[in-house]
């Protein structure tokens, strides 16, 4: 069957709600509007306004209400329109949801799923386009997911809803319209990274909206004789070190592609872990392809220039092989930026 990403998230929510009365969806315009990205279209008609709850524009308040509801027997899914707006709710996520279990000595868990859109590429400029996954991946007590495929869009959400602790799911805006042929949608694990392409010459590590670009780059590189393995992190916290290191030990080269800014990025964290765990297996320095360190601009050509692209990824990989076309030499955003 043909399935797309938006529909997969929709189906995961709908089927979870049919299966479990405790599941509710809260967020801005999830009901009558059908969801900002049309994910929840039709759910209000099936489940009614008590379970598909349109909220005021009060991110801190409704995330906190999600926490309390989760503590008291519900299985809330809270939708935040975009990661930039989630900053208004950081206090409740970081100061209450994440530490509650530990600081209460295991007495209170928060089985809350927070979904939010992330990333650039739709010309939404500097307050709707950022990738702040790493902010959340920094925090002990929460699981951070970045489904990059249609199967994961469905499967990780279903599994997240049976997790006893907070889960944050990042849905890249560039992925909602992607589609694929699948036999069936089913729950998937929320623990492991996945290899999306097998290869022997270099490991390309990425997540979320950058995965299609990385696969594109890997195809281009294959045509020039560089055979890349592509690792999709899937789970940004806790990171699946074993899968990353196993691949790097095989290929001896690593390029990390991250739509977040380079400074303090997830790419930096992955890079450090490779150095800690596979330094002597490396044949070249680790390279990173990240977003240029500017607020995301509106104009299409500027926005695209700020983001990792297949050609910058190709250049970064070629740079590891002593190619004259050093990564970053041609365009900003790579290497020394």
């Amino acid at each position: 069957m043909k399935a797309n990403y938006r529909g997969a998230v929709h189906d995961a929510i709908a089927e979870a709600m049919r299966a479990d009365e405790r599941v509710v969806l809260l967020g801005e315009d999830v009901g009558r509007y059908g969801g900002t990205y049309a994910v929840s279209k039709g759910l209000l008609e099936e489940f009614g306004p008590d379970r598909i709850r349109d909220t005021p524009i009060s991110e801190l308040g409704f995330v906190g209400i999600g926490i309390g509801a989760a503590l008291n027997g519900l299985r809330p899914i809270v939708e935040i329109m975009t990661v930039n707006f989630s900053l208004l709710a950081l206090d409740q996520i970081v100061n209450t949801a994440a530490p509650l279990r530990h600081m209460s000595n295991g007495q209170f868990s928060v089985p809350l799923v927070i979904r939010m859109a992330t990333g650039a590429g739709r010309q939404l400029a500097a307050q709707h386009s950022h990738s702040l996954e790493n902010w959340y991946a920094h925090i002990p007590g929460i699981t951070v997911l970045a489904p990059a495929t249609v199967a994961d869009a469905y499967g990780m959400l279903r599994t997240a809803l049976s997790n006893p602790d907070p889960v944050i799911i990042f849905e890249h805006v560039g992925l909602y319209n992607t589609s694929t042929d699948l036999d069936a949608l089913e729950p998937t694990d929320i623990a492991r990274a996945a290899s999306r392409r097998n290869g022997t010459d270099a490991t390309l590590i990425t997540y979320g909206g950058s995965l299609p670009k990385v696969l594109d780059a890997a195809e281009q590189l294959a045509q020039t004789g560089i055979d890349c393995e592509v690792i999709d992190l899937r789970v940004l916290r806790p990171l699946d070190d074993a899968t990353i290191l196993e691949s790097v030990r095989k290929t001896h080269r690593a390029v990390i592609v991250d739509e977040g800014w380079r400074t303090g990025s997830l790419a930096a964290e992955v890079s450090a872990r490779i150095v800690e765990g596979a330094f002597y297996d490396l044949d070249a320095p680790i390279a990173r392809v990240c977003t240029v360190e500017v607020p995301i601009p509106y104009a299409k050509h500027l926005e695209q220039a700020a983001l990792p692209q297949p050609d910058t990824i190709v250049a970064a990989v070629r740079g590891l092989f002593g190619d004259d076309q050093r990564a970053g030499a041609e365009r900003p955003g790579v290497e020394e930026r």
Binding site: G64, L74, T96, R101, S104, G141, T143, P164, D189, V235
Partner: protein, 326 residues
Amino acid sequence: MTDPGLARALLTDMIRVRRMEEKCAEMYSAGKIRGFLHLYVGEEAVAAGSLRVLGPQDAVIATYREHAHALLRGIPMAKIMAEMFGKQEGCSGGRGGSMHLFDASRRFYGGNAIVAGGLPTAAGLAFADAQLKRNQVSACYFGDGAIAEGVFHETMNMAELWKLPVLFCCENNRYAMGTSIDRELSDVDLVVLAESYRVPSASTDGMDVLACHDAMQQAVEHVRTNGGPFFLEFKTYRFRPHSMFDPELYREKAEVEKWREHDPITTFTERCLTEGLLSAEDLAAIEQAVAAEVADAVAYAEAGTLASVDDLTRDVMTPTAAKALS
């Protein structure tokens, strides 16, 4: 006419809180308790008068000044003292300390040390009760400082919009840490503010334990009957500094002394004696019993053990989940 049994219970509760906290201050000076320690001295009538109105099915969430609420919700004094001593026998295993007392079995959700941080959680507890059609009240205690936080506005709005059975208990002690209420709020009439959200509300004398009890009964009754929120202001005063680090540069000693004349324990004691509700012997017996409870709590805390460092990372996440992820 006040019921002598109730009078005794209310007075005993206030004295238990006062004596426990006096001991906490002493233990702080002795270096047994560290970190922040926020004492409730002067405000005891609020917790004593209000908490006993709630039933075991109801939920309570409080602030970093929550020793009284924890104790009067039923957490044994020994477990509270052990927590402040950082011992694993404490009600949060030594991980929370003074500001993060918890007890799931008593539906006591802390100990939230972010000003106003507990408000949306309480509304969420109430949201689940409404959704699951349980007739329970979620009581949220917070100070006047929380009124100035944006999440107060967000929570009041949604609580009324969705008719959530949450009881907002504002302990107005007139200071947001060191900033007096007239220097932090454009309008100090909190009932007017609450009613601007159409949340039914009332204000009571937080130095009078019977007034607190009566007001709480009406407020709880309102929430149980109508299902929607209620805002109850307790006008009270903190006699001691904000925390053990506070030199109190922001208020006059004379102001504190004036409020001390309304000490909820001495005034209620006098009333009990005058009205013949309790005898001098009764009072002595209460003090004696509380002194023994405090001594036992300290002994328990002293004898408590330190959690193994091997368990440092336990319960960051639920073990089953952690296992699946390993």
